[in-house]
Amino acid sequence: MLEIRGLTLRAGGRVLLQDLSLQVPGQGITALLGASGCGKSSVLKWLAGILPEGVQAEGEVLVDGQPRPTGDRLLAYQPQNDALFPWLTIAENAALGLRMAGVSAKLATARVLPLFAPFGLAGTEGLYPEDLSGGMRQRAAFLRTMVQERPFVLLDEPFSALDAVTRLKMQTWLLARLSATPRGGLLVTHDLQEAAALADRICVITAGHGVTLPVDMPHSERTEAAMAPLRETLKSLLLEECPP
C-alpha cells in the first residue's frame, strides 16, 4: 500500500493543494481526478522526486506503513504523453529505465525483448518512435515503465494525446496488462469517463482538497448507463470548485 499523508503543495505563495491524504493499494488503479492546473500532476511529480523548483511541498510518503523518501525506487513514473526519445529505437527506449538502474545494455535488451509480443509491439523493436502510431507509442512508454518492475506505477494522463477510439482501446488494454502483471497504479486524469472506466477508487481534487470515492463494480459491468450516477457525482464534485 502506497500512502500519501497530509500533502500540501504551494506555488508562488498560492496553495495549490491542501492536506491531501490518499491510499494507493498494491493492485488496481487509483485515479486522481481534477481540473487542469489543480496540482494533480504535481502530486505525481512530488512522489517521483521531480517537483519543479517553484513548487513547495509538505507531506509524507509511506509504503506498507513505512516512511519512504520521494523519488523512491519503489515508484515508476510515466510522464504526460509518451516522452520516447526520438533518437533511440523502441527497444532502446523500453530499456532506458533498466539502463539507468545500472543494468548493462545487453542484459537490459534481453529483459525487454520478450515483452514486446505481450505488449502488442512485436516487430517494432528496431523501429523509431516516429514510425509508431500514438497508441503504439503509449504501449512502448508503458513497457518502459513496467519493465522496471517497481511495485507502483505513476501514470500522468497517459492517454490525453490520443484520439477517442484509440483512447478507449488503450484503456481496455491497460486493464488487461495490469491484471497480467499486478501493480499499484496511480493514474492522473482530467477525464471523468476514463477515471470511471479504469479506477477502483477515485480521488477527486476539488477546491484544493481531495475527496476519495470507491468504485465497487467489476470492470466488465461498467457500461455507460451503470456508470452514469458515478459520473454525475464526480461532475458535481469537480464543479464545486468552479461556480458558473
Binding site: G49, I50, Y77, A83, W87, E130
Partner: protein, 251 residues
C-alpha cells in the same frame, strides 16, 4: 539529390551568363571587370599556384575550425553545468565578437608573428561564438519530460546531459557548425591578408597590387569552393552520425 542540386546550379549558370553577357555587350575593360570566362581562364593558367595557396589556406582553416569547435563544445558543457559562469562569461564572448577583424588581424601578426598561431587564433575568435551559442540554445531545447523521466529513473546530471541534453542539441549544433564553417575560410583569408607567406589572402593581395582583377576573382571563386567543400564535409559527417529520423532526413 538531383532536385536539390539542380536549382542552385541553374541559378549560378543564369548569373554567370548575365555577367558574361554584360561584360561582352557593355565593352567594359577586362582590367576593371573580367567576365567569368576570363576568370576561369586565369584560374586554369595559374591553377598550380592558386592550388598551392588554397592548400595553405585550408591547412589553417581546417585545424583552426576543428580547434574552435572543440573549445566551443568544452566551454558549452562547462557553462551548462555552471550556469552562473554563463552569466559572467557570455558578455565577454559577445564583446569579443564586436572587435573588428581589420583591427585585430594586424595586431595578431604583430604579437604572434607570421606563423600558424595568429591565423588559427583569428579563425577560433571568429568561429567559436556561433557554435557555442548554438550549443547552449540547443541544450535549452531539451524537452522537460525527457529530463523528468530520467530523473525519476534515478539519473544524475551527467547522465541526463549524455542521454537527453546532448542528443537534443544535435540539430542546433550542426546549424551552428554550418554558420561557423562559412566564416572559417573568410577569417583565414583575412589573417593571411594581414601578413603571411602563403595562402589565398596573400594571392589576393599580390593580384590586387598588380591590377589583376581576373586573378582576384579567381581567388574569390576558389575561396567559395573551399567553403562549399567544408560545408559538404560537415553535411557528410552529419549524415553519417545521424540515427533514426535524422538519418532518414539526410537520405
Amino acid at each position: 539529390m538531383l532536385s536539390r542540386v539542380l536549382p542552385p546550379l541553374a541559378l549560378f549558370a543564369l548569373l554567370f551568363a548575365a555577367w558574361e553577357g554584360y561584360c561582352r555587350l557593355s565593352g567594359v575593360s577586362e582590367l576593371v571587370l573580367p567576365g567569368p570566362s576570363a576568370v576561369l581562364r586565369a584560374l586554369y593558367i595559374h591553377r598550380e599556384a592558386i592550388g598551392g595557396h588554397a592548400l595553405a589556406t585550408l591547412l589553417v582553416a581546417v585545424p583552426g575550425f576543428a580547434l574552435s569547435v572543440s573549445f566551443a563544445v568544452l566551454t558549452s558543457v562547462a557553462l551548462h553545468f555552471y550556469p552562473r559562469a554563463e552569466r559572467a562569461v557570455l558578455p565577454v564572448f559577445v564583446a569579443s565578437q564586436t572587435v573588428p577583424l581589420v583591427a585585430l588581424a594586424p595586431l595578431m601578426i604583430l604579437w604572434f608573428g607570421f606563423g600558424l598561431l595568429p591565423k588559427i587564433l583569428l579563425v577560433i575568435l571568429v568561429t567559436f561564438f556561433p557554435v557555442l551559442l548554438s550549443l547552449l540554445s540547443g541544450y535549452r531545447q531539451t524537452p522537460a519530460a525527457f529530463r523528468d523521466l530520467l530523473r525519476s529513473m534515478g539519473a544524475g546530471r551527467r547522465q541526463i546531459f549524455l542521454r537527453a541534453t546532448w542528443p537534443s542539441a544535435r540539430g542546433a549544433f550542426f546549424a551552428g557548425l554550418r554558420i561557423s564553417a562559412t566564416y572559417a575560410i573568410v577569417a583565414t583569408i583575412f589573417a593571411e591578408y594581414a601578413g603571411a607567406r602563403q595562402g589565398i589572402g596573400i594571392w589576393i593581395l599580390a593580384a590586387k597590387n598588380s591590377f589583376r582583377a581576373d586573378l582576384v576573382l579567381a581567388a574569390v571563386l576558389v575561396s567559395a569552393l573551399l567553403t562549399l567543400g567544408l560545408l559538404g564535409a560537415l553535411r557528410a559527417i552529419e549524415a553519417l552520425s545521424a540515427r533514426g529520423p535524422a538519418r532518414r532526413h539526410h537520405a
